[in-house]
Structure formats: C-alpha cells, structure tokens
Homo-oligomer: 397 residues x 2
C-alpha cells in the first residue's frame, strides 16, 4: 500500500496561519507524519478565521488536513520538557514565529540539536533570521510591497497592485518545503541535520526572475504594463462579447496563424508587425485590431477557433468556473472532498504535485484541537491517561 | 568543503525557457550536478531573449547558472543512444516539453525506466500529463487566466490582472523541485524512481488557498478587491507625499496603536471600528482617514513612525530600490555577482532558500552552448576527442 513519498518523516509542526502550515500541508499530503502542536484552549489563530462551515474554519481545514493535532504549552517547564523529548524522536521541527521566539523559550535550533543532531529545523519568517530587518513583523502584503512585486503588477497610470492571493506566503511555504527536503537528502550524506531559513520577502524577490534582470542588466526600472508581456506580442488579454480571454501568440508563426483565424491575412504581411520586436513596439495598435475580432465572438467561440489553429489561448476564468472545470476539477483532482466530524463533507483544494508511484492525497480531515493528544503522547512518549489528565489540569496540554 | 545539499544527484536537464529551468536552477544552486542538454546550433530559445549584456542573454544566464551545458540531437539515432547511456548513470531527468514529445522520441518515462529503474522523471507542462486539456499549449498567461488568479487580482470595476511576473512558471518550478526531492526520499525507501507530473495551471490553482475556500464553502465568487484583504482591515496600501506604502494592522491591538500613531485616539474607541469585522465592513470609510495622515508624510517618515509602534508596514518598493536595499541585497544576499566569459561581471538573483550547513550559492556562470561537451561526454561515457568531432560533424552534438 502507498504510504506516500515521505512516510519515513516525523514532523513537529509549530506553524500557525498560512506560510508555515502550507509547507507542512505539502509534507503531510505526501505521507509525512505531521504532528501539529497548538496552544492549549485556543490553538492556531486561523481556527477563528473564516470562511466557516458549521462553525468550523475552512481556512484551517484546508491547510491542516492530513495532520495529527496535539496541544502543548511551550511556556511551561513541563511543556518544554515534553517538546524536547519529542524532538529526540522526530526528523523535523517547522515554525513560523518571529525570529528569536524559540530562543526565548529555550528551544532554539542550537538547543534542539544538542538533544538530536539529526533534527532539521525549518523557520519561515517575514524577513528571515539574519539582517537588519529580521525583527520586523512580515505579513504577506509586506512581502508583496517590499519585493517589488506590487510595483510591477497592475496598469499603466494605475496603482501598484497586490496579487489576489497571499502569494508571498505561498511562495515561502513551497520554498521551505524544498529546503527541508534538500536537508533530508543532505542528512543521508552527512548524518546531521541543519537549519532552513526562508523569508517571505526573499521568496517574492526570487519570483521576479526576468523583472529583476531587466533592471540589473539594462538599468531600466520595470513598470506596470497591464496584462501584456515585455518580450513578445500579442501575449495579452482581450475582451469578447461575454467576458475576457488571453492569447499567447508568442512567435511569428503563431501571429500568422492568428491573422488567418481573424481572416485578416494582410496583417500577417504588414511590415509593421512582421517580427516579435515589431509587434512589441506596436502593441498599442495591435490590441484594438485583435479585440475588434474577439468582441464579435463569445469567449467560448473565440477560444475554440483560436485553439483549433494551435494558438495558446484561454478564457479568464472566475473561481466558480475553475472549481467545476472538467480538466482541473476532474482529471487533475484539484478539488477533493473530505469528511470532517464537525463540518461534514467539505471540498478542499487538492495537492498539485502528482507523483506516479507514491501519489499524494487527502486521507484525513484537519484535527480538532488536541484530538490526538492521547494517541501521540502515548505512542511517542508512553504517557498514560492519568498523567495526561494531570498535565491537562495543569495547563500543560 | 560544502558541496551543497544535493551534491549526490546527477540531473539530465532537457528543460527550456522558464518553468523547467527555474526548477533545475534551484537543484543546481543546492549542489546537484545539472547537465543541461540543448539542441545543437541554437540551444534554449531564451539564449535569443533579452535583456542582453554584451549580446549574452541575461534571461538565460540567470536561470542556468551553476549548470554544465552539452548539445545533443535527440532526433538522431546516435543522439538517442547517447542519451539512454547517460540515463543509466543519472538520478533525474527533467523536461518541460508538450506531453507526448518524449514518447514520440522513444524516450518516455516507460522507456527510460527500462534502462534505469532508479531514474526519477520530472515533467513540467501547462496542463499536466493527464486529462482532456493535456495537449493544449500552456504559457504562464494561460495558467494565470485559467486558474482564476487573474480574476481575483486587480481593482473593483477594473479588468482582471496578470501578476507582474511569470508566476505560473515560478510556482510550477518550485513545485516540481518539491516533487523531485520527495521522489528522491521515496527512492531511499523503495529503491525505485517514479514520474513527477506538475502543471502550471494546477500550481496556480493551489496558490489560491483561501480564495478557493471562499467559493467552495460559502458559494461566494471572490472578486477583485484592490490591495485590501478579505479578512481584516486596515491591511491595504495608502498614499504618502512621495509614494505608496502598505500597512498590515491586522488585529484590534494594532489598530489601536495605529490610531495613536495618527494622533486620532477617538477612532480607537469609535464603535464603528471596534472589532476586525467592523473595520472590514467600514473599510471604505477607514481608507481615507488613514490616507489623510499618510499623505502628510513621506513614505520614509510614515513607515518609521508606524514601524516604531510595532505595526507591520513597508514602502511599496520599485525594483531599483529592492536591488539596493541593505537587508535584501545586503545580508540576505538576494543579488549576487558572477563572472561570465562573454557578459563579464553580471549580477544575478540569488538563491532564497538559506541552509545553514550546506548553503546554496552561485559558483559558476551559465554555460556557453556545448561548453561542457568534452568534459561531460568524456567523464560520463568515455567518449574521446576523435569521436566527439565525428559526432559534431554528423550533427549529433
């Protein structure tokens, strides 16, 4: 039976909210035993954040499926000792506190490696664990602003624009998973763990591939240019009768095909539009020409005709369309039902990394607060029911 | 000496343009021996794409640093045989062709595993290797449109907006690296490789965390809401005298602090704005109130005052500011010089995944076309100079 590609890894997951939990969600989807450790009584802040179903947070449910959940008060001496005992038996610790928080608790990487030098310690933070800004609080919007991502998203003459999802968090979560798995490979070679330090800001900076190079090499500061692309045209959005679509006629051949589809063969030979660089220079003329054609069609018809000619194109889909798309929701299984004890049957976003031999999957719903205290503390540390009750009454669990 | 976290891995890299090369760049930065295999004579398309420095593509240079480069014609019988001989000695094959291309060459995963069942085969494509759209060409803008990302980026009443970097490519590249490293771990357990299948569209869908859940749970279709956030306020952009800044006063305490900074204590007690949900409902009233204060300050002064009060905030930085920022460019080393034989000293975007024991780094510039033919084909397959010349004259290399 497939237990997942990471079924040998035990993860102590101290992460909260989005970036960290997104990372450990990916590990859990791929079979790691992720033990989410939450504050007693309240737990992860996202348990109180919408959207809700039957009073249960779908924010939390999505990011914490496939994890086991325990409570532990890391400020109590008994809680610290229990945590250190768990570290001895774990492969990974992942946290997304402000830098220095774990050190203040006496649970920084230097302390943890003393009890288990194979432990891999991964930290996600706004600005990283080094440098003058390291103590600044760093939400997603801060990373989008400071990385330059907002400055290059949006329309000429318009305002810098935030990408419509917490992209800084997502990029950092993905990047932290890469760092963790690279450290796991390295541990096979060296026998020891190490610390992985991923910042939201750095992750957003790294995503600005060509944008950074335009400035670093040409000295030109990239601006907001709407939906078109710096290096080719037509590669942009266009209005149809009933909505919008995008066309990626990125090379000369695709441009010629598009002229045929539009029944405008003369444009294909127009010297103003002959080569990629010509079309980029004349993008302001080409957009209305293409739009004159698309506006006479529905999105569906325009996409079908362009698609038949082998030209990349797509409708600009809204979330309700995406979630019911036969390819995305169907074959690619990007939306997956799960049965939750309180919320009932709920649909979550599926795992997008498709492995042929050890496919990822959604096996269990997110834990209720402390759901696995008995199971995890019993299995890992041999703590019995009487002791658990005592620890609970003392506020340790 | 640190050889990197992935120094044991040999990667045959057939990827071109952006998503695939971004993935193998991350592996190479972390020490994998990435052999980039390019078409003879022309190589990767991005060698012809700007921005340029001394005629050398900075697009290519950034994505292909730390890799060795060879040429090989996979359409020739001799080229196929050489590739299969290389597969016997490699850990990974990574490609981002249209699905079916490798099968047509007789080099699909099923063929490759026959000569080396430990091989891990990773494919990045627009729509993935299954489902009705799998043969559709999928550029970044297609993924941004079909995933719903564009539909939720931008301003109320405005158009759906493309994120200002090829985010679909970047997300897929990061995700493919996760799949590869998970498969490497799995191979330690099972002894065999597997296929990793990552789609641009799926990767963008997975990034829409809470956005998907809003529809799946509430049935409400998420809209474009500018720079604010669905779940708290003020968490938005604001205009200052000389530019823009973002403030993330995400909870009640931070809001009260912000009112103090603005010297508007009465707002902190105004019942209309008392709780998070109240401020979200009244965001249209709150934005001008905050902006009345920010507009009286420079970005620098506003950020300093807000920062001193412990409230997350940041200037909206342009790329020239990012590349000279003391934290980002300084301590976090997000822009790194490299000496290229043709381009000379050039600055590239650094690796953002910081590993304490085996730090990633930029060790070598991107290869010139076929630069390592002699070295790689000699080392891996024992092909001598006479045979190399013959293969070159036959158009195999």
């Amino acid at each position: 039976m497939n237990k997942g590609a990471l079924s040998n890894l035990v993860v102590l997951d101290l992460t909260r909210v989005l970036a960290g939990p997104f990372c450990t969600m990916l590990l859990a989807d791929m079979g790691a035993d992720v033990v989410k450790i939450e504050r007693p009584d309240t737990g992860d802040d996202t348990r109180q954040m919408g959207p809700f179903v039957n009073g249960e947070s779908a924010y939390y449910m999505n990011l914490n499926r496939n994890k086991r959940g325990v409570t532990l008060n890391l400020k109590s001496e008994k809680g610290k000792k229990i945590f250190l005992d768990m570290v001895k038996k774990a492969d990974l610790v992942v946290e997304n506190y402000r830098p220095g928080t774990m050190e203040k608790l006496g649970l920084g990487y230097e302390e943890l490696r003393k009890v288990n030098d194979r432990i891999i310690y991964a930290a996600v933070s706004g600005f990283g664990h080094t440098g003058p800004y390291k103590m600044k609080p760093g939400y997603d919007i801060i990373a989008q602003a400071m990385s330059g991502l907002m400055s290059t998203t949006g329309w000429p003459g318009g305002e810098p624009t935030r990408t419509g999802t917490a992209m800084g968090d997502v990029l950092a979560g993905l990047s932290c998973a890469i760092g963790i798995l690279a450290a796991v490979n390295s541990r096979e070679l060296t026998g020891v763990g190490q610390k992985v330090d991923v910042a939201l800001v750095d992750s957003a900076v790294a995503s600005l591939e060509i944008i950074n190079m335009i400035y670093l090499v040409e000295g030109r500061v990239p601006q907001r240019i709407g939906n078109r692309y710096e290096s080719t045209y037509p590669y942009d959005s266009f209005k149809a009768m009933d909505g919008g679509l995008v066309i990626g006629a990125a090379n000369d051949k695709l441009w010629q095909s598009l002229c045929e589809v539009m029944e405008r063969p003369e444009l294909a030979e127009d010297p103003r539009y002959l080569r990629v660089r010509d079309r980029v220079s004349h993008h302001e003329e080409i957009k209305p020409v293409v739009e004159e054609w698309t506006e006479k069609h529905t999105v569906e018809d325009a996409c079908r005709l362009i698609d038949q000619a082998g030209i990349p194109c797509a409708p600009i889909m809204s979330i309700d369309q995406v979630t019911s798309d036969p390819h995305i929701a169907g074959d690619r299984e990007m939306f997956v039902p799960v049965e939750h004890p309180v919320a009932g049957k709920t649909t979550l976003t599926g795992n997008h990394i498709k492995l042929s031999g050890t496919p990822a999957g959604i096996r269990t719903a997110s834990p209720t607060l402390g759901e696995h205290n008995r199971e995890v503390f019993g299995e890992m540390l041999g703590i019995g029911d009487t002791d658990l009750q005592l620890l609970r009454s003392e506020g340790v669990l």
